[in-house]
């Protein structure tokens, strides 16, 4: 897959319009890698002038900071700020709401100010401006889909409409869960929970959320965050519904509905 590295682009003396921040999950997690590839396919398809950092990208530090480890956060974040400022990066897109939040809201205090958007916002923009056209009667047309707001895109950064507009463009039947938008229920991964066992309780949070999603009767759950993707997929599997219910990132739904063309 042809994905430009910022170091190569800069070496040629060229500049980019936007940096694609892949994140740890998008880089290493097998399931999230599929999302990364789907999103890169869309960027290539539209012809966006972008690049990735590759080996120069480090964890933004979000889970370390929320776990309470400010030292580790500062170490990784300050290195990232050095790298980003070194390349003179102005605009960043990422498919991870945690990276999105940290880059957008926490790096300015560390000396790194960029325009940061989430990939669902870029997708909406590309659809709105007509740069991204979907094939008629796409794979998901008319299908009943429910959308899970991730906490860090939704409630924390109040982005509720862009992902829904993207679903609208796919011509799907969107059914909302009772707890949606500002009242959306967490998948259970945030605050560094992703990296530890649950505290004692009577139910896993992802099971609670998947129950709610399945109650809508949807066979497809759309997400916007690699950690939600993992939690919801695990929840569906725990229910034994992995053969009938699928969990996708929005960019996968879009990539599946691209008209044939060069990638």
């Amino acid at each position: 897959m042809n994905v430009p590295l910022l170091a190569d682009v800069a070496a040629e003396g060229k500049s980019i319009d936007i940096l694609f921040w892949v994140g740890c999950a998008g880089s290493f997690d097998a399931r999230a890698q599929k999302v990364t590839k789907a999103f890169a396919r869309i960027l290539n398809h539209v012809g966006v002038n972008y690049a990735i950092l590759g080996e120069e990208e480090l964890c933004t530090g979000d889970p370390a900071r929320r776990a309470g480890n400010e030292f580790v956060f500062q170490m990784t974040a300050l290195q990232n700020v050095e790298t980003l400022n070194g390349y003179g990066v102005k605009k960043i897109v990422t498919a991870c709401p945690h990276c999105f939040n940290t880059l957008k809201n926490e790096y300015p205090a560390l000396g790194g100010s960029y325009e940061v958007i989430h990939h669902t916002q870029l997708l909406q923009e590309l659809i709105n401006t007509g740069k991204l056209k979907l094939k008629g009667g796409g794979t998901f047309k008319g299908k009943r889909i429910t959308y899970h707001d991730s906490c860090y895109l939704g409630r924390v950064n109040r982005i509720y409409e862009a992902p829904r507009k993207v679903l609208e463009a796919l011509d799907v039947e969107l059914v909302e869960m009772k707890r949606c938008k500002s009242k959306g229920l967490c998948c259970g991964a945030g605050g560094a929970q992703m990296f530890k066992e649950d505290e004692p309780g009577n139910k896993r949070i992802n099971a609670e959320r998947v129950d709610e999603a399945l109650n809508t009767g949807a066979k497809t759950i759309a997400a916007n965050c690699p950690f939600c993707l993992t939690m919801l997929t695990d929840g569906v599997t725990a229910k034994g519904k992995e053969d009938t219910v699928e969990v996708y990132d929005l960019s996968e739904l879009i990539a599946d509905s691209l008209p044939p063309g060069q990638e």
Partner: protein
């Protein structure tokens, strides 16, 4: 004359004691760590107007919001009537505004009466919700004992207050006909003109005069009792919701407070800034929050502003799935600890007061690591709070203490920390970061 003297004495005592109590709350809040909260006064006043005064966030659940609004607006407007009571009390007059304002007086008092009736209905519904229907969020473990009694006590006080108003006004209506010289005409009052004759119509003039005074004094004394009850009750929110809305943090929701000391230390490690020699013999710095003194004064104001409604806990994914964490309990524990600290301090000698406070206890005695570790930082609690309290702030500050000062915390997190530090990724992976581009 005796009444006047009694009134002045009671009033001075009530206000004097209340001022002392509120002063204590104020100095308790100041025990918190300094944090500069300023700027954008426009947005701040907007928050006061919409969120505190207009109760905007309450209306996320419109049914309790409407009932609460009845009690709230009745309470606000009753204070107008209280102005007359105060003036009458000092000067020994009776309903001095009635002849002065005429029809407008009838309108204002009638308006208050209608709101009081609605407030009475709301109060009864609220009592039922707490006792018979046992709404889930009022019956969590942290509500056992005093907090539940506190809630019911206030509602009972509300019933007494409204009963006093209608006794006072209802008997007055009858007395206006029997003794117009001493009881100036108020016009037809919306509720009391019907309720008064129905309840008190058969009583003698003497009994009516006594009942009128009983109603008047009961009204006054309930208000004074209320004023002095506030500082030891969750009901303090009626006062503190306003400053709490004004001082609510305006930075982006997703931004955790930066720690400049650590940032600068890391910067100097990275050679980005000149290394500063730490002063000789100084103790190792402590990071994060162990006790109320380490929390921002704003968090302490948050704690005193909490009315224990439990919307935060009802929305908390950890609590919903049976984990120990309850954001409301965190706020209550902070307030209760602050109360213990201030009571202990008050009995200390000047010498002890000069030294850092130490009673061998801290917030960790009531807020356990298990609770702190269950938080997903999803901010559902922050979103749910009608008075802009941020329960996430102290939870994360206490996590910082655990990890940075105590080097404890969930052992599951250690590989994640090490991995970020050593390989720049949350997982220790052998692959290159851009391996996905190669297939």
């Amino acid at each position: 004359m005796i009444q006047q003297v009694l009134f002045i004495v009671v009033t001075i005592v009530a206000f004097g004691w209340a001022i002392k109590q509120f002063g204590r709350i104020r100095s308790n809040i100041k025990l918190g760590a300094p944090e500069t909260i300023s700027g954008d006064t426009g947005t701040r006043w907007k928050n006061v107007l919409l969120v505190a005064f207009g109760q905007q966030k309450m209306f996320a659940q419109w049914k309790p919001a409407l009932l609460h609004f009845f009690i709230y607006s009745a309470f606000l407007l009753t204070q107008v009537e209280l102005i007359e009571i105060l003036i009458d009390g000092f000067t020994g007059q009776h309903r001095m505004f009635a002849p002065l304002l005429g029809g407008f007086y009838t309108f204002v008092i009638s308006f208050i009466e209608i709101l009081s009736l609605l407030a009475l209905i709301a109060t009864v519904v609220f009592i039922l919700r707490r006792t018979i229907f046992k709404r889930d969020r009022f019956n969590k473990p942290e509500m056992k004992g005093w907090p539940s009694k506190d809630g019911l006590l206030i509602l009972a006080g509300e019933v007494v207050l409204i009963a006093a108003i209608f006794t006072m006004n209802g008997t007055d209506i009858l007395l206006q006909e029997l003794d117009p010289e001493h009881f100036p005409d108020t016009g037809n009052l919306a509720v009391s003109s019907i309720l008064g004759p129905a309840l008190f119509g058969s009583l003698s003039q003497n009994t009516l005069v006594i009942l009128e005074r009983v109603g008047w004094w009961l009204h006054l004394l309930t208000v004074y009792a209320f004023l002095n009850y506030l500082p030891i009750s969750k009901h303090l929110h009626i006062a503190l919701a306003f400053p709490n809305a004004y001082f609510s943090r305006l930075r982006p929701r997703g931004e955790m407070e930066n720690m400049p000391d650590i940032m600068n230390e890391v910067k100097s490690m990275m050679g980005l800034i000149e290394e500063e020699e730490p002063p000789e013999g100084e103790e190792l710095p402590e990071f994060g929050a162990k006790d109320v003194f380490d929390l921002s004064w704003k968090t302490l104001l948050d704690a005193y502003s909490c009315t224990e409604c439990g919307r935060c806990t009802a929305a908390c994914p950890a609590n919903l799935t049976g984990k120990k964490l309850s954001p409301r309990k965190v706020m209550m524990d902070i307030r209760d600890r602050l109360e213990v600290v201030s009571t202990t301090r008050a009995s200390q000698s000047a010498e002890q007061k000069a030294a850092p406070y130490d009673d061998g206890k801290s917030l960790f005695d009531s807020i356990t690591p298990e609770e702190l570790h269950a938080c997903t930082a999803c901010q559902a609690c922050v979103e749910a709070c009608p008075v802009l309290i941020n329960p996430l702030e102290p939870i994360l500050a206490m996590r910082r203490y655990e990890v940075l000062t105590e080097s404890s915390g969930p052992s599951d997190w250690i590989p994640m920390f090490n991995s970020i530090e050593n390989s720049g990724a949350v997982w220790q992976v052998g692959d290159a970061r851009d391996a996905w581009t190669k297939d």
